[in-house]
Amino acid sequence: MPVKAAPVEVNIGPQHPSTHGVFRMVAKIDGERIVDVNMIVGYLHRSMEKLAEERTFTQNIPFTDRMDYLAAMSGNLGYCLSVEKLAGVEVPERAMYLRVIFAELQRVASHCMATGAFINDCGAWQTPVMWCFRDRERVLDLFEMTCGARLTTNYMRIGGVAFDIPDEFLPALDKLINDELPKAFEEYEELIVGNEIIMMRARDVGVVTPEVAINASLSGPLLRSAGIAWDLRKADPYCGYDRFKFDIPVGYNGDAYDRMVIRIEEMKQSLRIIRQAVADLPDGAHKTDIPLALRPPAGEAYSRVESPKGELGFYVVSDGGPAPYRWHVRAPSLINLSVLREMTIGQTISDAIVTLGSIDINVGELDR
């Protein structure tokens, strides 16, 4: 006799390792399959957009660290570019190259974290994530050497960067990008990319088609896994990215495995960019002097950077005062979740965890 069962609600998160922070989803399951997903966010909401309206443009830079705390340099960079666009501040050549070096190092650190956590979500408990953490630590050591902080760097300034690099930085960087990280990426290739278990686990899970990806405003590795070669470093170059040679890794299936492979490939491309930037690193000032209470002319500006998570945009409105009149952050972590419901319906819970892990959200940026 067929039995009709009522759907069961399963509460995933907010405090669960696989939700990458305090993200919560309530899955309705019928048997093994998910029939509906409700996302509940806001556990880490700190109202940064409101707080920023009370602080000067320079005082807002630390907020951008604390949004995507795994990619603080990218947040710093995006915000400083938007204010520079609004106020018309010129950046010295050396500062531009330093920004590129640190943004790309941050991309390596963030992608290491994303890859490790993703393998963790696939069920390979702890060992791969520790490998990835080991390499992320090496990058954070360089951050500490330069600006004293490992996580919330607060390194970029409007008009340049806060400090010039110390003398011991370039030898350490050379060792990192020419010896340690390439060896680590070879290990990743053996452990992860060519691993048959991971392939079986992540292939055809969380598939996103190009049409859906564009319609849902996806960006970053999620968009590129669907086969769209869209990278703002190529499409809308900032900080002189058009001077460097690098490739955009693209996937074809749009599944979780593609996204992970794209991240590992992007780390190698980042090293290529850093090598070119170090070779061409010009001398000169690392910062333009700007007034402490910068007063950009009344107006508005939108500027965007390719952060490790996707397109990170800042929309700044000024009324001529020392603080932004309105500050809006286009957070890729939030917008990339637009398709989570469509992706997870019909999956099992274990696949939904893999799907969420492959999107690579950061709740600090999602909730702001």
Partner: protein
């Protein structure tokens, strides 16, 4: 890619293209953006998305700005194929802000419109599930509005007590939805 760097279309160019098809849709245009009439904005947005020349298939972001006398909805669109972007604004009333939802046109607008509703109080007609995104349902007011602190009820900077907290309440009542109690 046609352009090595993203081209920002001027508001006048977008307005001219839009007026050719929908003469009533445009209110005004500047170099930076085009302002649409709120009444026919859904049809105009549909045109912006499907027109071959404008090709605004990628909604970069949407947000709102409180200008004390009115609310402005700000939309940024891009074409990934032609590598250009343009900016659109839709004004609405300050006290009772209502605009038409574009979530049926762009799946990416779904969460962002919920965010704008939550923090700015703009209502979206035709949105499939317009609920608060970050804050809990009983939160008083919409905090990104410029008049939030002068709302009736007298919220002061620093929040000496939990909003709406009465004697005997611990604050636990205001947590986001809890497991086991349904949604």
């Amino acid at each position: 890619m046609p352009h090595p760097k993203t081209v920002t279309l001027s508001g006048e160019a977008v307005a001219a293209r839009l007026r050719a098809s929908q003469p009533e849709a445009v209110r005004s245009a500047t170099e930076q953006y085009v302002v649409l009439e709120p009444a026919g904005m859904y049809e105009a947005m549909l045109f912006l998305r499907d027109d071959a020349e404008l090709d605004g298939k990628f909604l970069i972001q949407l947000c709102s700005v409180d200008l004390h006398t009115r609310m402005d909805m700000v939309y940024h669109f891009a074409s990934l194929a032609q590598n250009h972007m343009f900016q659109v604004k839709v004004p609405c009333d300050h006290e009772k802000p209502v605009v038409q939802s574009i979530a049926p046109l762009w799946a990416g607008a779904w969460l962002q419109e919920r965010e704008v509703y939550d923090l700015m109080g703009v209502m979206f007609e035709g949105h499939p599930s317009l609920t608060r995104l970050f804050l809990w349902d009983s939160f008083p007011g919409h905090p990104l509005r410029k008049d939030f602190m002068s709302l009736p009820g007298g919220l002061k900077p620093g929040l000496s007590q939990f909003p709406k907290q009465k004697e005997g309440q611990t604050g636990q009542e205001f947590r986001p939805q809890r497991p086991g109690t349904g949604l």
